[in-house]
Amino acid sequence: MISRTLRIRISFVLGVISFLLMSASGLVITFSKYNDIPTGIPLFLPYLAFIVFFLSLYIFYHYHLGRLKNANLQDLLWKVFVTGLIATILSLGLILFEFLFRNHKVGQNPLFINFIYFLNLGLILAFLLSTFVVWERFIFYQKSKRLVYSWKIFLYLLLLSLFLIFLKIGFGNPIFYIIIGISLIISIYFSVNLKWVAYLNYKQKWKSILLFILVAIYLGYFIKQIWDDSSDSSDVLVLDLFENITTLIIFIFVFVYAITSVLVLLFNLPTSSVFEKKLEEIINFQRLSQSRNTGKNKEEVYEILLESAVSAVMADAAWLDINQPGSLETKQLRYKIKKEDIPDVLEHIPKGKIKKLLSTDPVKNLRTNRYIASIRDYKYRSILVFPIYIQNDSLGTLNLLKEISDGFNDEMIDIIGTFINQASISIENFNLIDAAVENERYKKELNIAKTVQRNLLPTKLEESDFFDIIGYSESADEVGGDYYDIFKINEDKTIIIIGDVSGKGTSAAFHMSQLKGIFHSLVQLQLSPKDFLIYANNALAKGLDKNSFITAAYYIIDRTKGSLLFSRAGHCPTLYYDHSKNSANYFYGIGLGLGIIRNNEFYRYVNIDRIKYNPKDILVLFTDGITEARDVNQEEFGYDRLKNIIVENAELSPDEIKDAIVKAMYSFCGTNALEDDSTLIIIKFKENKT
């Protein structure tokens, strides 16, 4: 395919060549005619060149003027005007030139006359065809299949008519008049395609009218010129445009279309303001509904609402009260009204004489009802009040004022209603998206907290030569408040801690991290379990919330002494399985949660227990999430069930025992979800190798 630019270039070059050919051959023919020197150039050569020139011009403008879009409708018209202006000026120049030689011999010379005429012809055709192409674009502003077909037929007829030039059908010939008549009808038929008129605004319409009139004047000027030339020197001219049917048809068409355009534009002027208003309403509506996508904020939605409402009802003043969440204060957006005037306006609304209540709710409060009211003895004579709601939450109230009475008709009220609805949908979307974003943020933060908290628990419990150990911890929420840790002082001495922070969730997790810090600081001091808890209590007394406490138990396993030392700070009792007796017992001892007493009296409430351990004995540490796990009947899993499982499974490895407990606990709970964090540590002493 030949590209558009190439087509433009080829048609331009072809146009120039054919123009030169036409003029040259025409002049040579004239010369030979008047000097009786046969040149052998046939008469059809300038005619053929004329046809080529004509077609080249059409093709050139067809591609050169580009496609019509709404924005360049005016530009195209402007181009036509400018082309016409240039053509007219040049043509006037030629006339002046001709005029100067009028009385001179050269002025009477057929060669000279033909030369000037060819130049004029070029100008006229250039203007005519550019106008024709632009009108074509205008007609196709909104295409229909029928229109495209009929236009094609028109074009083919024009093409066909071009060849009539050889037949020299001119005035006096009935065919000539028939063709002129048909072209008039065709012109009128196409002239009703003026849909583009509706898309112009008031100002553009005026401008278009002016341009069309000017174009019509050019056309008139040119037709007059070729008429004059034709009547003055018809016998001299090689090629008479006035005798050319195609040119005349196009002249008629272009002229008729220009005239109908002017008329239609004129008749459309009064309605254009209404049309523009509707258009503006639609655009405003769109602005309101798309505010989220275009990166606007809630403030801007309110601004658009006020602006759109004011322009839709042509209000003289308006204000918008916006309720501030969690406060009685309202924010005010105002249009052409001062803040201090507003109470005045409200005072002037006669309470008993609200003209029209627009909602069915009883008049409880004027500020929550839609109504129109007339205002007496005041600058403003009518007010339209519209509250804005999302479901049952009042967002604010829109107040529109007019200086005339009965200033609001039903249509205006409908539009305001639509605007308000759309604005509240937008605001609601903002709220929902804000909430979703917030939620997403919390989720992310919670995930971070979860990771951090998971990292606070040891990933792997350190192995030891003299016992096997397994830990298990499950959180009820994303983050939990259970804590356990192990610290190996040396090959013979291991320290274990288990803790449970009151409450659950994020705050519990933070307190748990405090406990971890305390544990890792104090554990290196090799304190007794009791001293550890006293120090920990002191430290936590400063850091815990008023309502929070931590229960903990601290264990020292010492191989050299074969002993287990432990203290309990309000934590669940220690479950100890004695293999030699095949029985398990809970060691309660006295104890008090950390952070409950925040002075130096705490030591009174801590005790140390000591157990001599033997191989195959089992130490079970747990948090209350295990024993307080409840079934559907709200019965607790309890201490006895836990104890029995240990006794029954005492021969198994710690891992298997843990599995047995967890399984038993979950089957006990059934469908009941885990309510509290649950942690379990099982230590089984090994056979003495030494």
């Binding site: 409450g503 309502n547 009792p573 949660g593 409950i596 925040r598 209350d624 709200q634 509290d676």
Partner: protein
């Protein structure tokens, strides 16, 4: 769910706590006690219908211990079920808060301390 009923017998202020005190419902209990200790000196808590108390619920009782000592406010709990009592016991709160079986015992104890 938690219900808190209050009434006054002689100069004793009696709070009856029924249902389950967990993390969310403990706030009501917290508010109630916080409000009462501003004016009352003798408080008796009826726990006969208290079915369950979580650590957050214990936290409420715990948080007022110090305040009550300073304000010379006396508080006695009575009628705790074994489960609930055990929870107090494990945490060690029974060492700091007085608990008795009946309302009469509670009144006597409040007067005695």
């Amino acid at each position: 769910m938690i219900t808190i009923q209050t009434n006054k017998e002689e100069d004793f202020y009696i709070i009856k706590v029924s249902g389950e005190v967990d993390a969310s419902s403990s706030i009501h209990l917290d508010n109630k006690i916080g409000e009462i200790i501003k004016t009352e000196k003798k408080i008796i808590v009826d726990c006969n219908d208290l079915q369950y108390i979580s650590s957050a619920g214990l936290g409420v009782f715990m948080s007022y211990i110090h305040e009550m000592e300073e304000g010379e406010i006396k508080m006695v709990l009575f009628g705790l079920g074994s489960n609930v009592k055990n929870v107090f016991h494990i945490l060690g709160l029974d060492q700091l808060i007085n608990m008795v079986e009946s309302k009469e015992d509670a009144k006597n104890l409040v007067d005695a301390i």
